[in-house]
């Protein structure tokens, strides 16, 4: 005959589960509290990560080892200009395999219906492909060779008044034609990226033919990256030379920390954590107080304090597991819904792990008041 589950679990687990399940109303309140705390933390942290990825998306999707930027540049979306001669100076540095120009400049997009939007013009070298659009779902990157050709993201097509490939618009009063769509290339500035060849982008934005924004450096195989970077910095003088990963982090830091946008999201996530601690704390404490005579009996029977603590902590853990599961289900729905919007909620496996850990900590912290209460329990109270 199969043993009942109660025979296979420890006494503390059994007591913890029964204490919760025999007071269903309170258990449901606990779970709802944990669930919404997880939802709030998950969405806010997911937004934070989504924004972080968005702010550095352009850097992350190039294969450059080093980025040369105008001095004082803090993020990839806003920068001054570099002369093309800098490219030749960079090419002369030992260890450098190639240097490509990448242009970034705000521009005005006039929609077919006459309205105007701000866009971020991205001009890249079609031959090397450094800085080219990714996740192309319609059209071909090669079509950008045409003089007026641009590629935009489907997420912003409505905003830019574009309904189909081949549609013509104006960028800074120059005629432009949409030849391709990407999927999921978001911008934090809400000025959508518009991809064109470097030459076309210069024309659209009134850059001189010898001007660009960034120089993307590929190193020769086996080159000492730090050494080449230092040599470039010394040779080029008034520019900044970044490792790609550092530049990506700088962009994230600028938009999320310097502007305060990330703090607001973190604060909301923290609020979720606090709300969760309070709800779990209150409901667990109420359950504990109801069962004080039982804890006193355990103590009289000789149970050490740690045995009683385990019961409380397991109640917290059970609440965490159920609340987390429900909360993550809702988070998954939000993540799925955000896939088609300009605001991405990212939820990689690592963040799921962090959320699970936060939920466990939240419930354990909520259990502290109850633990404190039963630690002081007087076993002689069983005789009263």
């Amino acid at each position: 005959m199969t043993e009942p589950y109660a025979a296979r679990v420890s006494g503390t687990s059994l007591l913890a589960w029964r204490n919760l399940s025999h007071d269903r109303a309170r258990f449901v309140v606990t779970l709802v509290g944990v669930l919404f705390a997880v939802l709030l933390m998950g969405v806010e942290l997911g937004l934070l990560l989504g924004f972080a990825r968005t702010t550095s998306g352009l850097v992350d999707h190039t294969a450059a080892d080093l980025w040369i930027t105008p001095a004082g540049t803090t993020n990839v979306d806003i920068a001054g200009r570099l002369d093309e001669r800098r490219r030749f100076e960079a090419l002369a540095v030992p260890g450098v395999a190639s240097v490509d120009m990448l242009m970034m400049q705000f521009a005005f997009w006039r929609k077919p219906d006459g309205g105007t939007e701000s866009v971020s013009m991205v001009g890249f070298n079609l031959a090397s492909g450094q800085g080219r659009p990714w996740n192309l779902v319609e059209g071909r990157v090669e079509d950008l060779q045409q003089d007026d050709a641009v590629i935009i993201d489907q997420l912003y097509a409505g905003k830019l008044g574009v309904t189909a490939l081949g549609q013509t618009v104006e960028i800074n009063n120059h005629r432009a034609r949409v030849v391709g769509f990407t999927q999921g290339i978001r911008t934090f500035t809400q000025s959508p990226y518009v991809f064109a060849t470097h030459r076309n982008a210069q024309r659209f934005t009134f850059f001189r033919p010898d001007q660009t924004t960034y120089l993307l450096v590929r190193l020769q195989a086996g080159a000492d990256a730090a050494g080449v970077r230092a040599a470039l910095q010394a040779r080029l003088g008034r520019v900044d030379v970044w490792f790609a990963a550092d530049f990506a982090r700088a962009a994230q830091r600028y938009w999320l920390i310097t502007t305060g946008a990330g703090s607001a999201l973190l604060l909301a996530a923290l609020l979720g954590l606090v709300v969760g601690i309070v709800i779990v704390g209150q409901t667990l404490y109420a359950t504990t107080v109801d069962r004080l005579p039982e804890y006193a009996t355990l103590r009289a029977m000789g149970a050490p304090n740690r045995y009683l603590h385990r019961v409380i902590l397991k109640q917290a853990a059970i609440s965490a597991v159920f609340g987390f599961s429900g909360g993550m289900l809702l988070v998954a729905l939000v993540v799925a819904a955000s896939a088609g919007s300009t605001v991405a909620v990212a939820m990689p496996l690592g963040l799921v792990g962090v959320l699970a850990l936060l939920t466990l900590c939240m419930c354990a912290l909520g259990a502290l008041v109850s633990i404190r209460r039963i630690t002081r329990i007087d076993p002689t109270s069983v005789f009263q």
Binding site: A6, R8, E294, M301, G302, A303, N305
Partner: protein, 234 residues
């Protein structure tokens, strides 16, 4: 017979200064294995305090407690006292103090779990104890589904689960009807006689008295009587 528990000039005072209340004074006695000792006395005479001293639940203000011939340190830590209870003492309470969310066998198994008895054998041991106390068919019932007598038997089974050398019962028959009360008293007496457990029962119940091998009388915190009634059988 040998003394499992010896009290030496025990005194207990609650509170301090003007509000101090003396619950026990100058109590010296020995509790023998294999005997059922009754602790009688009016309300407020100190019976419960004495039971708590015997059960390592309360530290005496004065005097010494010897367990199996070893004196207990006066400043014994709370956790050390709990360890002593776990190792040697079983309790049976007036209101059973069963865990309402656990079935009868689970209530017994909890005592085994606290003693770190392997999980794989807890259920079998608990069922065997319930069977021994005539509750084999009630193992899967919750306390709310049991009669008072059945609950008290589950409580006795739970107290016995840790194989205690000392079993302390506080008014174990007070909430039971006459026949059931007698039956529970007989069970406790059987444990002392057949298994050598030192059983101490605090009671007001005259139905229990015939089962006592020894009767101690307390009044105003003092031991005023200690006798061994003559009886043919119980």
């Amino acid at each position: 017979m040998s003394a499992v528990l010896a009290l030496e000039q025990i005194g207990v005072v609650y509170g301090q200064g003007a509000t101090a209340f003396t619950a026990l004074q100058d109590i010296s006695l020995e509790i023998e294995a294999g005997e059922m000792t009754l602790l009688l006395g009016p309300s407020g005479s100190g019976k419960t305090s004495l039971l708590q001293i015997m059960g390592c639940l309360l530290r005496p203000t004065r005097g010494r407690v010897h367990l199996f011939g070893n004196p207990l340190a006066s400043g014994l830590a709370v956790e050390a006292m709990a360890a002593l209870r776990l190792a040697h003492v079983g309790f049976v309470f007036q209101h059973y103090n069963l865990f309402p969310t656990l079935k009868a066998w689970e209530n017994v198994a909890i005592a085994l779990d606290i003693k770190a008895v392997p999980r794989s054998s807890q259920r079998q041991l608990a069922l065997a104890l319930l069977e021994r106390l005539g509750l084999g068919d009630r193992a899967e019932h919750y306390p709310s589904e049991l009669s008072g007598g059945q609950k008290q038997r589950v409580a006795i089974a739970r107290a016995l689960a840790g194989k205690p050398r000392i079993l302390l019962a506080d008014e174990p028959t007070a909430a039971l009807d006459g026949k059931t009360g007698q039956s529970v008293a007989a069970t406790l007496h059987g444990l002392a006689r057949d298994e050598g457990v030192a059983v101490v029962v605090v009671s007001h119940d005259p139905r229990v008295e015939p089962f006592g091998d020894r009767v101690l009388h307390l009044e105003d915190g003092r031991l005023v009587g200690d006798r061994r009634p003559q009886r043919s059988s119980v």
